[in-house]
Subunit: 253 residues, 2 copies
DNA sequence: TCCGTCAACTCATCAGGACGTCTTGACGAG
DNA sequence: CTCGTCAAGACGTCCTGATGAGTTGACGGA
């Protein structure tokens, strides 16, 4: 029952109580919460108030509601790891590319849809690739799946000069992926930089990645540099935050 | 005006239209959206429907609403960077610790509140530190501020044996921070591993970090290893995703 | 036994109204 | 000119009431 004199809005009190019960294990992961009607009786509030409370918990990623079934406590996500070593030349020689290698090693059946297009560099792309704004870039737009489920979106951009007459402008880049093709044409990779952030998904991303409410996406912008420091490739990746954990390792200096 | 026969819920149509107008620049960053009353007239829906639409945009982090003032387009966040080099010994010798060094270099006035306590290791801590579950650990619970604003939460855990009779069990760890004290007692750091993820904040975190709705947090678990591979310290950090971008760099192998 | 029907239960959506609090700015008293 | 008052308009909260749509399981017919 809510306290009307506390000054705390009723729907927040309901949300706080449910949140506490979930944390305490009264409602275990995967368990169903009482129906809206029951919550109305339990707390002595109206149904929209109960719905506001549930909406809050959903935005926090604590519960998901299923139309016609009920509201359920979100089970903890199964976490996958992406190690820095997935980009090593050794791994590249054994496989077709970073993502396919990673997924195969984990026992998933990976697949990817690729669309190639050519663009003029916008300001951000120009800055990352150290080229002029408006210069032509090759864009590889990929949707990666594991066992049919979309798990990652990636948009790769390279200066057009680096990809002309190479398999990078083809849907299938061949063994070792685009990085292998770059190195074959004399552009040996010297280092990588990854910029990592997080935000809420756009509706498109939420739908593609089949994200539940309250699940953010992790964004990674990776830039590959040549041994002389020239930027060779920029790769914008979007991952579901509840399905991925990134790991980075480096020696103390 | 919404299309009642399209099957798409009215509040989603309103949200989509507003989202498109924001993306197109009709409502610029920082600009005020029409009031709820105006939106009711514009789209021909009731006020709860308009509110549902605005709530959706807020959960996406696109807008913030201010009581008594209106609803505003969220301006793009000012991004800070954390480079791997902030953990170098050279930086440590010049400063008091990673966070204070970072903030000072950026022109902020940094401050931090620290609470020390001792715990028994839970399963996760035991796994990361390679110690027995239940073994005693020293916990440093820190709230970091820049110009008075809370920007980062950090909970550091070390095996108690490593901290006994050192300044690590004091609020002020002295010049160079806890890592410098560890190295002084013969525990030279060999490598770091960071595990990066993202999720929606708990209500506590949202309040401490003054997070707007729809802003996720980035979580970092950093483990520092000795030169022999022994885990020395585990540090759980929580950052506002709209105020930080992480950068990692490594040479190609 | 099997399977289709259908009632009952679930959440999703929407309307319309009421009252509260907060912010802003006009305006008048000093 | 300054400052406090106050009304208007903004969002916040909460209610009652209604309809729609998806899911499940009991039940009865084949």
């Amino acid at each position: 029952m809510v306290d009307r004199r506390s000054g705390v809005p009723a729907f927040r009190q309901v949300a706080a109580d449910l949140r506490q019960k979930i944390a305490a294990g009264d409602y275990a992961p995967g368990a169903q919460l009482p129906s809206e009607r029951e919550l109305v009786d339990t707390y002595g509030v109206s149904r929209p108030t109960v719905r506001d409370a549930v909406n809050l918990l959903r935005a926090e990623g604590l519960v998901t509601s299923e139309h016609g079934r009920g509201v359920f406590v979100r089970p903890p996500a199964s976490i996958q790891r992406i190690a820095r070593s997935r980009l090593s030349r050794a791994a590249r020689e054994r496989n077709r590319g970073a993502f396919l290698a990673d997924a195969a090693a984990r026992g998933f059946t990976p697949s990817a849809s690729v669309k190639i297009r050519f663009e003029q560099a916008d300001g951000r792309t120009a800055a990352h690739l150290a080229i002029d704004e408006g210069a032509e870039v090759t864009v590889r737009d990929r949707v990666m799946r594991a066992d049919g489920l979309v798990v990652q979106l990636a948009v790769s951009r390279l200066p057009r000069e680096l990809t002309r007459d190479t398999a990078i402008e083809q849907v299938d880049t061949g063994p070792g992926g685009a990085y292998a093709r770059l190195e074959e044409t004399g552009h040996r990779i010297g280092s990588y930089v990854e910029h990592v952030g997080a935000r809420m998904p756009t509706p498109d991303e939420a739908s593609l990645l089949q994200l539940a409410d309250g699940v953010p996406v992790v964004t990674i912008t990776r830039v590959a540099y040549g041994e002389d420091g020239t930027p060779l490739e920029m790769n914008d990746m979007v991952l579901a935050a509840d399905r991925y954990e990134l790991s980075y390792e480096w020696p103390a200096e």
